[in-house]
């Protein structure tokens, strides 16, 4: 039996899933209900003792037919749908979609709106990385310690977003040609206060990881993804940068006002779980910087461009942004009707998840969970 093909054959032919075709291995079904598959991932693992010989991710348990639904909705009605894509970073999804429509129709967005967008996008990136870090703590078996800490800060970001949009998870804040509302009174001061607080806490997290011998034992040199491999396997976002590849859509294909702000791409060195975690941490620091600059340089003015009520774009566009998880692309085809002809989402979580079988071969179950935690898939986005 060729490696990699075996499990698939077993699954398709025999749903009882007891046989791996080898006497010394067992087939373990992990998920879709499992404490640390980050939602509804199902993994079929061929185990030799504790060692993972073969692994097949099975996805689709959260498939909602998102791309098809958009074909029956008007362009504006699609924005709240995007909230539910990557449900822990709705702002980024909002942005990816509205940017695609703006690119397609050539809409000029007012500068203030762009600055507000960058502010909320970077806050969203912080919130998302905090969540990823917290759930990695759970995966590594220190239930809820790290998670409760990171959720404390994430909660503050959610409060800020609540003051912006009224919602805490699905914000529906971006609009085609701008944002829904201007920043509420006092938002800037509250955000600056929060950033001061967060900076201290990020240092604490770094200490928590570097000073914690066991945390390092569990993440250092585990799940190594070499730079070349990362590129070939289509890694993106923190996973790619953790392997030392300096690629970030915010620099590569600048959108909004990222090119006017002063910031650097954060990269790791070794490509193991620890460097991916450190990319999260340093990216949070960088995001703090960006938010501060955006708030300082924010010009007055309108927050929404004049856009026709009924949008009938024509043409084809692929527009991409750097979501917290990587390159989030929207391929949009308009056919001069009120609904898109086709909307395809290039999901970073899906691309990163597809690396799992390649780097999790020959590791122990515990490492598999750690690797999965650092790949940070969100199933709303993987399955769409």
């Amino acid at each position: 039996m060729k490696p990699g093909t075996g499990l698939r054959r077993v699954v398709s032919e025999d749903e009882s899933m007891t046989d791996t075709g080898r006497p010394d291995t067992i087939l373990l079904n992990m998920g879709p209900q499992h404490p640390s598959t980050h939602g509804v991932l199902r993994l079929l693992i061929e185990l030799e003792g504790e060692k993972v010989v073969n692994i097949t991710p099975i996805i689709g348990y959260l498939h909602r037919g998102f791309e098809k639904i958009t074909e029956h909705r008007t362009y504006i009605q699609i924005i709240p749908l995007t909230d539910k894509l990557d449900y822990v970073s709705s702002m980024a999804n909002n942005m990816a979609y509205v940017k695609a429509v703006e690119d397609l129709m050539g809409i000029e967005v007012p500068e203030r709106a762009e600055y507000i967008r960058v502010t909320v996008l970077e806050l969203q990136r912080i919130a998302s990385h905090l969540l990823a870090l917290g759930s990695l703590g759970n995966d590594l078996g220190m239930p809820f310690t790290l998670m409760m800490y990171t959720f404390r800060e994430r909660e503050m970001i959610l409060d800020l977003f609540e003051s912006l949009s009224g919602a805490r998870l699905g914000y529906n804040y971006m609009r085609i040609g701008g944002v829904a509302e201007d920043l509420p009174l006092g938002f800037k001061d509250m955000t600056i206060d929060f950033l001061r607080f967060l900076e201290k806490k990020i240092d604490e997290y770094e200490d928590f990881i570097y000073e914690n011998e066991i945390f390092r034992m569990r993440t250092e040199d585990v799940g190594v993804l070499k730079a070349g491999e990362a590129v070939n396997l289509g890694a993106t976002g923190p996973v790619l940068r953790g392997s030392g590849v300096r690629l970030d859509i915010r620099k590569e294909d600048p959108y909004s006002v990222y090119s006017e702000l002063d910031w650097k791409i954060v990269t790791g060195r070794k490509g193991d779980c620890l460097s991916r975690v450190l990319v999260w941490i340093n990216e949070m620091r960088m995001s703090v910087d960006i938010v501060e600059q955006a708030l300082q340089n924010m010009p007055p003015g309108p927050v929404k461009a004049k856009v026709p009520r009924v949008l009938r774009p024509e043409g084809e566009v692929y527009s991409r942004i750097e979501s917290p998880r990587g390159e989030l692309g929207i391929h949009l085809i308009g056919d001069k009707t009120t609904t898109p002809y086709r909307l395809k989402i290039r999901s970073p979580a899906f691309c990163n998840l597809s690396i799992l079988p390649h780097i999790a071969k020959g590791v122990l179950i515990a490492d598999l969970i750690a690797i999965l935690g650092t790949l940070d898939p969100i199933f709303g986005e993987v399955d769409r």
């Binding site: 373990l28 079904n29 504790e50 078996g141 220190m142 310690t145 914690n212 569990r218 515990a366």
Partner: protein, 340 residues
């Protein structure tokens, strides 16, 4: 005696005769039964309170409140959880090996309570003052892994199996350092009797000459009670609930209870072997033992909130490559201290 309920005067006098009671009290069977019941009651109560204390303490470390609904400060939470578990339907999955599956929780519970009969709370407060007390405790405590493997195998679930196998691997690598660590104490005290060991610490606790042994035994305590960072057999994020995955209701309560008493036992042993047991000024002696045990327990709880889980190969490395040499070195130190 007639069964009609009529009691003649002679028989009444016989019942009031104090010698009867002395005879009853000196009867080894009755004494043993009474002692066992007392131990079971005390340990059950202590575990109920300790689980609450742990949840509360860990919650505070983790920036949350912990139980605060049932009773004052949520102190009845464990009781409520226990009642809930006992009232639940006892589901037995279809594919299990019924005998092994049912026997495991019972064995786990009873074996967990057994070592406590040989634990002295005070010089004279002991159910069974076994001459080789420490040997008895170690022997019985190491039986504790058998129900774990039974639960892992009998439930016919792969997660249970993995948990049971992990427990077996864990057991092999902690039993040897545990025994070796204790040998140091035995060399210095010159006795296997726990009472003698504590009385021998009048001039100084064994933690000072036996620091390496203390460290080894403390690490072993984590492994023995399979608490974080060595909670591999029930690693929730990896193998769901490990060896207890297929268990519910009363059976699960018994398994969890049995597991928890291991931690209590380990803490008591540490305070007896290394921290001078009930020795201490002012307060009654039992108080000191309880206090020391609680402090060790607190350390176990603290670690649960502070560190990640160790991987199985790393755990085996620690057992064989770190703890065994450390314990051997410790024996050498003990020998030098004893004979110089």
């Amino acid at each position: 005696m007639r069964s009609t309920g009529e009691v003649s005067e002679v028989e009444l006098m016989e019942l009031l005769n104090p010698e009867l009671y002395i005879k009853l009290l000196t009867n080894p069977f009755i004494r043993g039964l009474a002692g066992a019941l007392i131990v079971a009651a005390i340990i059950s109560l202590a575990v109920l309170l300790l689980i609450w204390a742990e949840r509360k303490f860990v919650a505070r470390l983790q920036h949350r409140y912990g139980p605060n609904r049932a009773g004052k400060f949520g102190i009845l939470q464990t009781l409520a959880d226990g009642v809930k578990l006992f009232l639940k339907e006892d589901i037995v999955p279809e594919s299990v090996d019924r005998i092994v599956y049912t026997l495991a929780p019972i064995l786990c519970f009873s074996i967990a309570l057994l070592p406590f009969v040989a634990i002295p709370l005070e010089k004279n407060l002991i159910v069974a003052n076994v001459n080789a007390g420490i040997l008895f405790i170690l022997a019985v405590a190491s039986l504790g892994v058998i129900p774990v493997i039974m639960a892992g195998w009998g439930a016919n679930n792969k997660y249970n199996l993995l948990g049971g196998m992990r427990a077996a691997a864990l057991m092999i690598s902690y039993e040897i350092p545990a025994g070796l660590a204790i040998i140091g104490v035995l060399i210095i005290s010159g006795s296997l009797n726990l009472v003698d060991i504590v009385e021998g610490q009048k001039d100084g606790w064994y933690i000072f000459p036996q620091f390496l042994g203390f460290i080894t035994f403390l690490t072993v305590a984590f492994m023995e009670s399979s608490r974080p960072p060595f909670d591999l057999p029930e690693a929730e994020s990896e193998i769901v609930q490990g060896w207890t995955t297929e268990y519910g209701s009363v059976k699960f309560a018994l398994l969890m209870f049995g597991e928890y008493t291991h931690a209590v036992l380990a803490s008591i042993l540490i305070s007896i072997l290394y921290l001078g047991g009930w020795l201490g000024p002012f307060a009654p002696s039992g108080f000191w033992l309880v206090l020391k045990t609680l402090i060790v327990m607190l350390f176990l709880m603290w670690m649960r909130a502070a560190v990640a889980r160790i991987r199985i190969d790393q755990m085996l490395n620690i057992g064989w490559k770190v703890l065994v040499p450390l314990a051997l070195l410790n024996i050498g130190i003990a020998g030098v201290i004893r004979f110089v």
